[in-house]
Symmetry: C2
Subunit: 376 residues, 2 copies
């Protein structure tokens, strides 16, 4: 007997269901890929990680790895031939890379999740088209466009490159009296989007998983605090009303369904409070496991990484209930030097990514604190 045969229900209309002993391919070898790989191994899958960086943290916990550029089609084809399904830890997978792989093997989440979420303009247009509130926005392809957009949207506003931005990179704030040429140059004179500034009182996110059969299982809404444009703390439960939490789940579910998404997904949200009460404005979609879902490793019945693996394998999702109130702290740069004190903290769960060098701004690990004391 071998586990290498899928059960009778394998013939899903949405594509093949994996059996244990199959191989999951992961594009990207950072900490997200590493944590997906560990979850996959626990479920009896082999893992093959593809990443151009020879020092990728995910290589250490994978059965096999390939060091090659995302444009290396021969390497991509060999990778596709060696795995049963491909997933990714980042949404900026080049379109051609995804197409080469998809010709040979299922890629989950699928092309629509990638295409829409790679581009802030298509993302905002998509959200808006679903009736989900977003900041006012306009496409900016030149300094002239920027001037016109600023008039239309009002200031202050945020100018962002349409592609490849993360952790505040490729962004600049536009205020009264701005120099359009300088601002457009500051973001590299690339196709961009101007977004109205949202006067939010807090940032939160909804992380969920959607299975191959369309089932959606959301986690609890998470409240996020950024420092220097990088996520620093996530706390659950979030300090939002029950109605807002329900609205967040509804937004996440609508987005996942409209993308035909398979896997874990996060929607970052702004909470606005005004005379009319509390409401959410969607900021961006991450069609993948997300930093604001790391708390699920120790405080949810099933973590976001296992849910992602279950989804991309075509398996049923697990329960996602909250086990205990939790605070996730990202360990950025020198923060990781506090590992010894964190290990001695009762109720703290330390996660380190195995990165050798703690450069400023680099995510080195995180800690999940269950039943944390209130933070000032």
């Amino acid at each position: 007997m071998s586990l290498d045969s899928a059960p009778a229900e394998a013939g899903s209309p949405a594509g093949p269901v994996l059996a244990p002993g199959s191989t999951l391919g992961i594009l990207g070898g950072g900490q997200l890929g590493r944590m997906i790989a560990v979850a996959a191994a626990r479920l009896g899958l082999h893992v093959h990680v593809y990443c151009p960086d020879p020092l990728s943290p995910a290589f250490e916990v994978a059965t096999a790895h390939t060091v090659a550029a995302y444009e290396d089609e021969a390497a991509l084809q060999a990778f596709a031939a060696a795995v049963d399904v491909v997933t990714y830890e980042f949404e900026n997978v080049p379109e051609r890379t995804a197409a080469v792989l998809a010709a040979a093997v299922p890629v989950r989440p699928g092309p629509r999740s990638l295409a829409i979420c790679q581009d802030r303009l298509s993302e905002k247009t998509f959200l808006s088209g679903l009736g989900i509130p977003v900041a006012a926005f306009a496409a900016v392809d030149s300094a002239e466009d920027l001037k016109a957009a600023a008039v239309r949207i009002g200031l202050p506003a945020v100018l962002k490159t349409r592609r490849m931005g993360y952790d505040g990179k490729g962004q600049t704030i536009i205020r009264e009296g701005f120099d359009a040429g300088a601002a457009f140059a500051a973001i590299g004179a690339k196709p961009a989007i101007l977004e109205a500034f949202v006067p939010f009182v807090l940032e939160c996110s909804i992380v969920l998983a959607r299975g191959l059969d369309g089932t959606v299982v959301p986690f609890d809404v998470a409240e996020n605090r950024h420092e220097h444009h990088i996520l620093k703390y996530t706390t659950v439960p979030a300090t939002v009303s029950a109605a807002t939490a329900a609205a967040a789940r509804e937004i996440g579910t609508k987005v996942a369904a409209a993308l035909g998404h398979v896997g874990t997904l996060a929607v970052e949200l702004f909470l606005v409070r005004d005379a009319d009460g509390e409401r959410l404005v969607a900021n961006e979609i991450a069609p993948r496991v997300h930093n604001s879902g790391h708390w699920t490793q120790d405080a949810a019945e099933t973590c976001q990484f296992e849910q992602h693996v279950r989804a991309v394998a075509g398996w049923p999702l697990g329960r996602a209930g909250l086990i205990a109130p939790v605070e996730m702290e990202n360990l950025i740069g020198d923060d990781a030097g506090r590992w010894s004190a964190i290990l001695a903290e009762p109720g703290a769960h330390l996660h380190l990514y195995g990165k050798a060098e703690a450069r400023p701004g680099r995510k080195m690990g995180h800690v999940n604190r269950l039943n944390p004391p209130p933070r000032g």
Copy 2:
């Protein structure tokens, strides 16, 4: 900044404390080594697994691996040079292997844990010397010894090889009218021990971790059910009195301290109920992570694998409280074919070891069911 420097408190009298970025060496590449490796990776350690079997499940989640015999001293020396501390997933590490490694690098748990637990006679003598109740026993080195021992201990009794027995292997029951020559031959005519049969009502175990500083953190007592001499179910809480649970913790703590043990350790216990009430009889010690502690992965605040890694790294232990009642079921041989149904069970956490072939009696994985329904 690098994490490769240990903090100021590193100079423990019991030996060096590891820093994240250090390498943990593991002797043995089975599922226990695999789960230790995953726990170590989560804490930012690199892992190097040493095992003669080229298809070792632990290789898949390790940074590096060595395929070599335990008697290959050149390979052992190279391994010792590549790691910062060595631990093991099984107690039958040859004495010479441990000595070669210990000459170059800390081996944790230490030589006393290995020496005593490898030999049923020294183990029973050790337990007895600590005042811990054990079955009446006698050394048996020949058929003649067996006859004399049977008279002294009474029948029925169990004849076991002193070394290398597990899962019921190397054992035979001795009943009235037995043939001493045949019985001694049946266990391979090896140095053996005759143990009185214990009329137990249930089997349980205490799993705990002991840190480099001597701190002991016990898990809840586990109740174990064997089928065909292999552990099949573990349930927690066990159906024992509070006094018995306290006695189990005391036995475990006493054993760990007397061994100078560093790491996770299990003591298997028989529960006897008679006119005097409920009492425990120690059966054997496993100086390592143990199958009856697998439930801790999903139902304890810190799992036995992380506790083991923390201990052998010289780090403080985590909390070990029970999160929810749990039943662990071992998936043996064809049981693993039920993976698809298990994934669909609410509250079930599936763990598979990545073994290709499901031979009868082979441990393929396990499932932890939280808040399980009562089993008949």
